[in-house]
């Protein structure tokens, strides 16, 4: 099936560095597609090529089946990872400035309502909090009522509450059938928002698919987590894989009942036992063998 955006054999090389190493994928209309990976994985470079901001060394990006033309910028919205706005302008003036660049789009009040900026419209944009500022940047990306929205690490640096509020906002935008391309290194964010994800590392896509399907295809086990102080087991008593997790130990098991029985036989206290499913972060670590880099 042809997607709204097709990436074909994309390569981006800088002197001495291959940032993107021959990747191909397509994004379907109306889906939220996540590009995950640590800093330096190549996801921002990939997205900037898809946005038409950075030229590719080779390969191509097709928008609605054609090479990106002049109409592309009018039909997409972009929220960069880090961007400055014009100083000394209010939120309203900033929105008006960006609205004037497009022939069609939303009016300021609509945007303010969508991004819950109503009470800040007359505030100097430099005086917004982190969450308010991210909502303004999102409003600027929505100002032309785009068909497709690029969000590059939109919640980096936000506190947990602001991050969750932002997720709600993205969900409401997604409900309007907008195509969203999201880059993030927060696995929880990707799991909650994305219909499909691609995990990148060292410029390559190392896994791609629906989050649950990816987890199911890679993991059949559960994780039992115990405080290290409680984990007093005779060596060799447990056949399962035991992993170090700081103050905790994590036991990977496909037979939760059997493992718990063994632990009880070893007179291990289970008062602080936690059982969890595998997460995207586990998948990332499994695939790359490295800690997440921030």
């Amino acid at each position: 099936m042809t997607g709204i955006l097709e990436v074909k054999h994309l390569i981006k090389q800088y002197p001495g560095v291959t940032a993107v190493a021959d990747i191909s994928f397509s994004v379907q209309a109306g889906e939220c597609f996540g590009l995950l990976g640590p800093n330096g994985a190549g996801k921002t470079t990939t997205v900037e090529i898809m946005e038409g901001i950075t030229p590719a060394t080779s390969g191509a990006v097709y928008y609605r089946g054609e090479p990106m033309g002049p109409h592309f910028k009018s039909e997409v919205g972009i929220q960069f990872q880090a961007t400055a706005l014009q100083d000394f302008l209010t939120v309203r003036e900033t929105l008006r400035l960006f609205r004037s660049f497009y022939t069609r789009g939303l009016n300021i009040d609509e945007l303010a309502a969508t991004c819950t900026l109503g009470e800040y419209l007359d505030r100097d944009s430099r005086k917004l909090s982190g969450g308010q500022r991210q909502r303004l940047l999102l409003a600027l990306a929505l100002v032309n009522d785009p068909l497709m929205l690029f969000l590059d690490e939109p919640t980096t640096g936000l506190d947990p509450q602001a991050r969750r509020n932002f997720w709600e906002l993205i969900r409401s935008i997604k409900a309007r059938n907008k195509t969203i391309i999201l880059t993030t290194h927060y696995m929880e964010e990707a799991y909650l928002l994305c219909d499909r994800i691609a995990i990148m590392d060292r410029g390559r896509i190392i896994a791609m698919g629906k989050p649950d399907a990816l987890l199911a295809s890679h993991f059949r086990d559960m994780i039992l987590q115990l405080p290290r102080d409680d984990f007093k087991v005779t060596p060799g008593a447990l056949s399962e894989k035991v992993m170090d997790a700081g103050d905790y130990v994590e036991i990977s098991t496909a037979d939760v009942n059997g493992t718990i029985r063994t632990l009880l036989q070893q007179q291990v206290s289970l008062a602080r036992l936690q059982i969890r499913s595998r997460t995207l972060e586990d998948l990332f670590l499994e695939l790359t063998g490295r800690e997440m880099r921030t």
Partner: protein, 340 residues
Amino acid sequence: MIRRLLSVLKARNLEFVRDRSALAWNVLLPVLIVLGMWFLFSGGDKPLFKVAVLHGNTALANLHNPFLETRFIDFFTVTDAPDAISKVEHNQVDMLLDLSDPAAPRYLVNGSSPKGYILEKILTGEKDRHYRREIVSGRPIRYVDWLVPGVLGMNMMFSCLFGVGYVIVRYRKNGFLKRLNATPLKAIEFIAAQVASRLMLIMSITIAVYIGTDLLVGFYMAGSYGALLLVALLGATSMISLGLLVAARVTSEELAGGLLNLLSWPMMFLSGVWFSLEGTYPWLQHAAQVLPLTQMLEAARAVMLDGAGILQVLPHLLALAAMSALFLALGAASFKWKHD
């Protein structure tokens, strides 16, 4: 296109007028220039030479020395001869006239001082030749009349080059240009808005300084204000465009500052802001013609001092227009929205 251009222009103007410190400085600087000119040039013609006179107990007025009647020379009494000689040695005084012994008057000049040389010629005179004297009349043009276009032009140059160049580099460095590049805004629209914004600002300030200085000092204006306005507009446009060209690709404020200084300092000295280049090397005079400030000042002085009309200064206007078009075209073609 016009709507986008006007929006960027309005936003830039709002940014400028709300930046209190920048606004205060841009308003204060012209006021200081006006006051400086008033201080320096009010009160009529200043003496050209300084002559210290040693005259013992006899009052200066009672000496009846014709040389002491010479106009435009500031004669003042000294009593400490060694101190006065030291000042002559260091060109702090142009001549020491020692009349303490009326029977044996003497003068001391520094052999390397041009002013001392002139004063010596005036004092000793040329007795063996006679020239016919003819008087011409006309309104004299003072140094201040000649200097005003230079100082105004210099202020415009700094404002145009640095006021635009630094702003663009800052926008690029903090990612604002990259954000604009993600919209349908074109480089030429953004650049044209920056030119228009700075043009509005610099013309307002220059007109205010011109009026203020004229009220305080009063200077010569032989030509039409319309022609002068056209010269100023084209001159400012060419220098703003030059600032934009410098800032078209630069991502470092330090580098931008260096490049802008590299342009502004030669212009300050070679474009005739403070002194005329007449009498210097011909190649230097030719080289100075490629500087927009030279073209603007020559045209402005022709209008203000010689009463030239638009036709007479047309070559300068065409040169300024061509420079503006060239700098803008190069700036737009090489414009970079983001740093690598």
